[in-house]
């Protein structure tokens, strides 16, 4: 019997912009309410065949209609409630590598193209409308579609330029680090900022010249002198845009995004596996040991996080078993390579993450975008060949590293790299050794404050040791 006295669902903290509906969580499942305000567009979205085509092409997240919507409480604004397929792990644009952001942009434009054939348009172009399921970009905002009104300009144009064109262009002409601007500007990189950052030679790219330079110049002009009154603004907003111009705009955006190649800069970890100190035999042994430790974990993990995953070499051990594996790395080139690696499993999601400065909670009230910790803990975390970089490279005391792992993991498979290992020696060669407590005894003691030791095994042909820990509290 449905509970008719139940309170109406509370929208997710990030779902407040669209009067057509909102996303909410109910018993750990994500639902979307379609409001009466969005009914007409939603019905057209379904009846026109657009939804079916997008689902058939795996471009949008499929959903089913929740039949017993009364169980979600009464809401006079409600038309219906849908239950979308659940996304295994929510990631954010500031955690994506260059090719991921580019693919998200192209997905948005492709969906727009298909929508137009069905008499609809995207009413916004937020990068947050896209998620990755493994390496597949998928559109998640079912209520982003509006019936196309002939002559109406595209409302999502400015947003598309700020969420996609500007960050990709800045990264293209500067460095990969430019993508971090999306963390400071969650509403997209302001075009006037992009204008100031981009080098003059970027103007020779016709797309960038149009969509960033001219666009920001136009914004500036109207901010200063144009559209001073409400009527003037209304007049501009109702100025018709021909269908040819609309299609031309889409074609131009697509050409611009496709023209943006990754930056040419190199990074420290881009070719990491060319420079490890492992022998081929030792490397294989480590692979086998990680696999064996995985089998000791019960129940079978649903989610694995691999910190310092680089190109996903070891993440593959979990991903190949069908376990959803988030392969984190600080290096954008390594993450991009992992994403583009065709042989890697589809259950692996490569993302950028700096463990020392992890993704914080962002947005209104600090609740719109979850922090790294709010999206965990993972069932298992891999920390392979990373601890010396944290402890010695970034001066993090071992107990603090253990605190971090306790906040993110139920189990940890971790490799301890001691002093005397050639990689640690390199780290210490150019600096004073101020790490008297960096040894295996102190490491184990730090970990045991939060974890129970399950297995400890020396990695053959190396000085390193592999541990499996289980969280105690």
């Amino acid at each position: 019997m449905p509970d008719t006295t139940a309170a109406a669902p509370t929208p997710h903290a990030s779902s407040y912009r669209d009067p057509a509906g909102f996303v909410f969580r109910h018993k750990d499942v994500i639902y979307r309410q379609v409001n009466k305000a969005g009914q007409k567009d939603f019905e057209h979205f379904i009846a026109s065949g657009l939804y079916d085509e997008l689902v058939a092409k795996q471009l949008i997240i499929p959903h089913v209609t929740a039949k017993k919507s009364a169980e979600f409480g009464q809401d006079a604004d409600r038309f219906l409630i849908i239950k979308p397929d659940q996304i295994p792990f929510i990631s954010y644009p500031y955690e994506w590598s260059f090719p991921q952001l580019k693919d998200a942009a192209l997905l948005t434009l492709r969906i727009q193209e298909i929508a137009m054939k069905h008499g609809m348009v995207l009413k916004d172009a937020s990068a947050y409308n896209v998620q990755f399921i493994g390496k597949r970009a998928v559109f998640i905002d079912t209520l982003s579609f509006a019936i196309y009104e002939t002559g109406k300009p595209w409302d999502g144009y400015k947003q598309f330029c700020e969420h996609f064109v500007a960050p990709l262009a800045i990264a293209r002409y500067t460095t990969y680090d430019a993508l971090k601007l999306l963390q400071a500007h969650i509403e997209g990189v302001p075009l006037q900022l992009a204008n100031k950052i981009l080098p003059k030679r970027a103007k020779f790219n016709a797309g960038i010249f149009s969509h960033i330079y001219l666009h920001s110049a136009s914004q500036r002009r109207f901010e200063k002198s144009g559209a001073k009154t409400k009527n003037e603004a209304q007049e501009v907003k109702t100025r018709p845009m021909s269908s040819l111009a609309f299609q031309g705009l889409m074609a131009s955006l697509e050409r611009t995004v496709k023209s943006l190649a990754p930056p040419k800069s190199q990074t420290e970890w881009g070719n990491y596996y060319d420079f490890t100190n492992y022998s081929e035999k030792g490397f294989k042994e480590k692979h086998a040991m990680v696999g064996k430790m995985m089998k000791l974990i019960t129940p079978t993990p649903a989610v694995v996080w691999d910190f310092g995953a680089n190109n996903g070499e070891f993440s593959q051990i979990a991903a190949k078993q069908g376990i959803y594996t988030v392969a984190w790395d600080i290096d954008p080139i390594a993450v991009g390579r992992n994403y583009l690696h065709k042989e890697h499993s589809d259950t692996m999601l490569p993302l950028i993450q700096d463990c020392v400065n992890p993704s914080p909670a962002l947005g209104w009230m600090g609740t719109e975008r979850d922090s790294l910790f709010e999206r965990g803990p993972a069932d298992v975390t891999f920390v392979l060949a990373l601890i010396h970089h944290l402890a010695i490279g970034r001066n993090l005391p071992l107990p603090r590293i253990a605190d971090f792992l306790a906040a993110t993991s139920k189990h940890v498979i971790i490799e301890f790299v001691p002093k005397g290992d050639s990689k640690v020696d390199i780290l210490l060669a150019s600096r004073k050794d101020i790490f008297p407590e960096y040894d295996i005894e102190h490491f184990e003691a730090a970990m045991k404050k939060h974890f129970k030791l399950i297995k400890k095994e020396a990695i053959p042909h190396t000085k390193r040791t592999l541990f499996l820990f289980k969280k105690t509290s």
């Binding site: 009067p19 409302d155 969509h211 914004q219 603004a233």
Partner: protein
């Protein structure tokens, strides 16, 4: 109709609206012009290469073999 739907829930700035029409027209004409030129080229090629149709060549070869 919901009042808010008189305008989209996003508020594109005036400058964005003006410039997108301009860019769209230029890009649209360019794409349309390019397509038109391509079509004309294809038609012209067909017109001047009527005798070189592949099926004619294949037929001719087959006849020689016999």
């Amino acid at each position: 109709m919901h009042e808010l739907f008189n305008f989209a829930y996003l508020d594109p700035s005036t400058g964005s609206i003006v410039i997108q029409s301009l860019i769209g027209v230029i890009a649209g004409v360019t794409v349309f012009g390019r397509n038109a030129i391509m079509q004309m080229r294809i038609k012209a090629k067909r017109l001047f290469s009527k005798d070189d149709k592949p099926e004619v060549k294949v037929k001719a070869k087959a006849e020689t073999k016999q």
